[in-house]
């Protein structure tokens, strides 16, 4: 049986659906269509769905790995598998990855606000407001973040209905001819869709806080499915609404679709979309801050709250520094590579280590299985 935190700190297994799904949604949903379009063009939806489906395998591997972790999370597993020094070092690397993740979300969202809403507002100010919000939520603990994730899945989902308006302009011929690309094109689009699914790896940190976690895997799979079906809707809507030339010239196609929505009493409906993204980036950022603080707490003598503030302070410094467009691009690229390596390289590697370790030695945890 896998490790589980005390009952008062855990959440119901079905909430894993919302946690997994919500940790995967982020700023990448705004612009992934124009990035994937450079590869498999009108067939890119195939890559988006395939990468999404591959996440089922990643979830399986994560559950396998975590089931054998002493304390049910990656922090303990690292130390358990690689010893104190190397384990702590790897925890540090994972912590850096989490910082990168939250910085990328915040910096890109600041850029959206600066471009579309308030060009005069400096990045540090947007970053500070959101970081204070995230820290406040993360300070409430995992159960608060879970509750928030639940509601922040439901609220923005209402906006999906508004896709009906841009879809009145849809040209379904944009998808033709189907399956007209070579494997490397699909691979390129798949690689560019990975940021959509990044965030599921946070399960490596909050797994012990899921009640009956070993049996909760079906909810994780539902969460993953929810994500790729949603991204499928966004991909198909964007490719029906824009032709390839337009997509390649768009910066944020998801937001661009809302620009055709117009009411006599409301000139800029796209503002709803822009600020709706607060609901979308808040849960993953809070989860990341909570997880980063947890890593610091277990790897350093710092207390939980101090760890949270230290993490937030570092994020703030990076966000303030990443003012220019080159830095934003750099953050996005590093984050994408790091996420791809983690999901498709490091997690299978960990599973292999656990497997080998179980096979050649006695089981790592006496009470495992």
């Amino acid at each position: 049986m896998s490790y589980q935190a005390s009952l008062s700190k855990t959440v119901s297994p079905y909430l894993l659906w919302f946690l997994i799904h919500k940790s995967q949604t982020g700023i990448a949903v705004l612009d992934f269509q124009c990035k994937i379009a450079h590869g498999a063009e009108q067939d890119s939806w195939v890559s988006v769905l395939l990468v999404g489906m591959s996440m089922h395998l990643v979830v399986l591997l994560m559950f396998y790995v975590l089931k054998h972790a002493k304390k049910g999370d990656l922090i303990s597993l690292h130390v358990q598998l690689f010893g104190k020094w190397l384990g702590t070092l790897l925890n540090g690397v994972f912590w850096l990855y989490l910082l990168l993740f939250v910085c990328n979300q915040l910096v890109t969202y600041s850029q959206v606000i600066q471009t579309l809403v308030s060009p005069d507002i400096p990045t540090w100010r947007v970053g500070l407001v959101f970081l204070l919000l995230f820290v406040y939520i993360a300070d409430g603990g995992f159960r608060v973040i879970t509750g928030l994730s639940f509601w922040f899945v439901l609220i923005p989902s209402l906006l999906i209905i508004t896709l009906f308006i841009p879809l009145q302009y849809a040209d379904w011929r944009n998808f033709l001819p189907v399956f007209n690309h070579a494997l490397p094109d699909y691979a390129y689009s798949a690689e560019r869709s990975v940021p959509l699914y990044m965030g599921a790896e946070l399960l490596l940190l909050y797994y012990p806080f899921i009640r009956d976690n070993a049996k909760a895997i079906k909810w994780a799979h539902i969460g993953v499915m929810h994500s790729y079906l949603l991204y499928g809707i966004f991909t198909i809507s964007a490719f029906a609404y824009y032709n390839l030339g337009q997509l390649k010239h768009s910066v944020w196609p998801t937001l661009g679709m809302s620009k055709i929505i117009h009411f006599t009493f409301l000139e800029r409906f796209d503002y709803f979309y822009i600020f709706n993204w607060i609901f979308i980036i808040t849960p993953p950022c809070c989860l990341v801050l909570w997880g980063s603080a947890r890593i610091l707490r277990f790897s350093t003598p710092l207390s939980g709250r101090v760890s949270l503030w230290v993490t937030a302070a570092i994020v703030f410094v990076v966000v303030t520094w990443s003012e220019d467009i080159l830095a934003v691009g750099l953050l996005e690229t590093i984050s994408r590579y790091a996420g791809s390596i983690l999901l498709y390289g490091y997690i299978p590697f960990l599973a292999l280590c656990v497997l080998v370790s179980n096979w050649i030695r006695k089981p790592l945890v006496s009470n495992a299985g």
């Binding site: 001819p177 032709n243 030339g245």
Partner: protein, 357 residues
């Protein structure tokens, strides 16, 4: 401690968020609604209309500026005014034919990149100078703006569906050329739609007159409505199209390649002749056949006219692209499109219409 922290955070956030405020009082700023661009030597002249709420109770006033780029024109306008200029509510952009013929890439790029403008903005070409079109709005009510004139006609089916989004869609398409309405001033200096301007990518190539505009709308098949005149037994009739559809299909195997348009129209005939269909039901087939034949000839003639000008405003290339796995735009428009045959089939269904005799 926790309450203090929360209060501190709320106060700090409120202070920081106050910086996001963009206080603009509606009657103290100049909210541009229509812009016209003309060539002015090496520069571009911009004429803008805005509602003046202070001196004119909301009727429109005019300003003019010059510059190399829309942003520089705005800066020039700003230098002339004691009030802030905001252009988020621009709903009409008019280009003079001279500018449109020379290419509007620079202007369109600036407009397309601007996050302040929505996809519903009307783009139009003016037969006279754009300055005259915008000047005609001076002291007019907002209701008379070119946007409302064109929108009303789009709803009634007199003008094909057109806006900034659709223009950019066709502009960036490999297999279709963009188009937009053409405006002019009539003898009473009222703005009217006088045709439909067809572009070869960013350059104006051909302007259709109003009867051709209705036919063009039928070919596009997006919202088929309008009035189609035809003759029957030497008399003039007008078919009012209530609804219809056009299906475009590509025949790649034919030599030369052919594009087939299957047009289905439902409508009635109203004219001073009274309710002719009610008088003699046996005439319905003859009338329908007459419409179908005449309309087919007119549609083929229009397609050939567009083809002869080297443009593909209907999107025949887009249809071929969607069915040909090895489609190449350059090769298609060099070798295939100029020799293409058009097979137009019209099916008209007439309803008994007209209430009086």
């Amino acid at each position: 401690m926790r309450t203090k922290l929360l209060l501190g955070m709320l106060t700090l956030s409120a202070m920081l968020l106050a910086g996001c405020g963009n206080a603009n009082i509606v009657n103290r700023i100049r909210i541009l609604v229509a812009v016209g661009f003309d060539r002015d030597g090496e520069l571009c002249k911009g004429t803008v209309a805005y509602p003046n709420y202070i001196h004119r109770k909301g009727s429109l006033a005019i300003m003019k500026g010059t510059g190399n780029d829309p942003k520089l024109i705005l800066q020039h306008l700003s230098l002339q005014t004691p009030r802030k200029i905001r252009y988020n509510k621009i709903n009409t952009i008019v280009f003079s034919r001279e500018i449109a013929a020379g290419g509007i890439t620079r202007l369109i790029d600036t407009v397309a990149r601007d996050p302040s403008l929505g996809g519903n903005v009307l783009l139009a070409v003016s037969s006279c100078s754009a300055e005259k079109v915008i000047n005609s709005l001076d002291r007019q009510e907002l209701e008379n703006s070119p946007y409302n004139v064109v929108q009303q006609n789009i709803r009634d089916g007199n003008v094909p569906l057109s806006n900034l989004y659709l223009f950019l869609h066709d502009y960036y398409s490999e297999g279709k050329d963009p188009s937009m309405p053409s405006l002019r001033l009539d003898a009473e200096r009222q703005i009217e739609v006088d045709g439909y301007a067809l572009f070869k990518k960013e350059r104006l190539r051909l302007v259709l007159d109003t009867p051709e505009m209705t036919l063009f709308e039928i070919l596009l098949g997006k919202k088929v409505k309008g009035e189609v005149p035809f003759t029957y037994k030497g008399e003039l009739f007008v078919m009012s199209i209530h609804h219809g559809s056009t299906r475009l299909s590509a025949n790649m195997r034919a030599v030369p390649a052919a594009a087939r348009f299957e047009v289905r129209l439902n409508g009635g005939i109203r004219s001073f002749q009274g309710n002719r269909i009610a008088k003699n039901l046996f005439e319905v087939d003859d009338l329908a056949a007459s419409i179908e034949h005449q309309l087919m000839e007119k549609l083929v003639a229009l397609l050939k006219k567009i083809q002869a000008n080297g443009i593909d405003s209907v999107g025949v290339g887009e249809e071929f692209r969607s069915v040909d796995r090895h489609w190449n735009a350059a090769e298609f428009y060099r070798n295939v499109y100029p020799a293409m045959k058009f097979d137009v089939r019209v099916k008209a269904t007439l309803k008994n219409s007209g209430a009086g005799e």
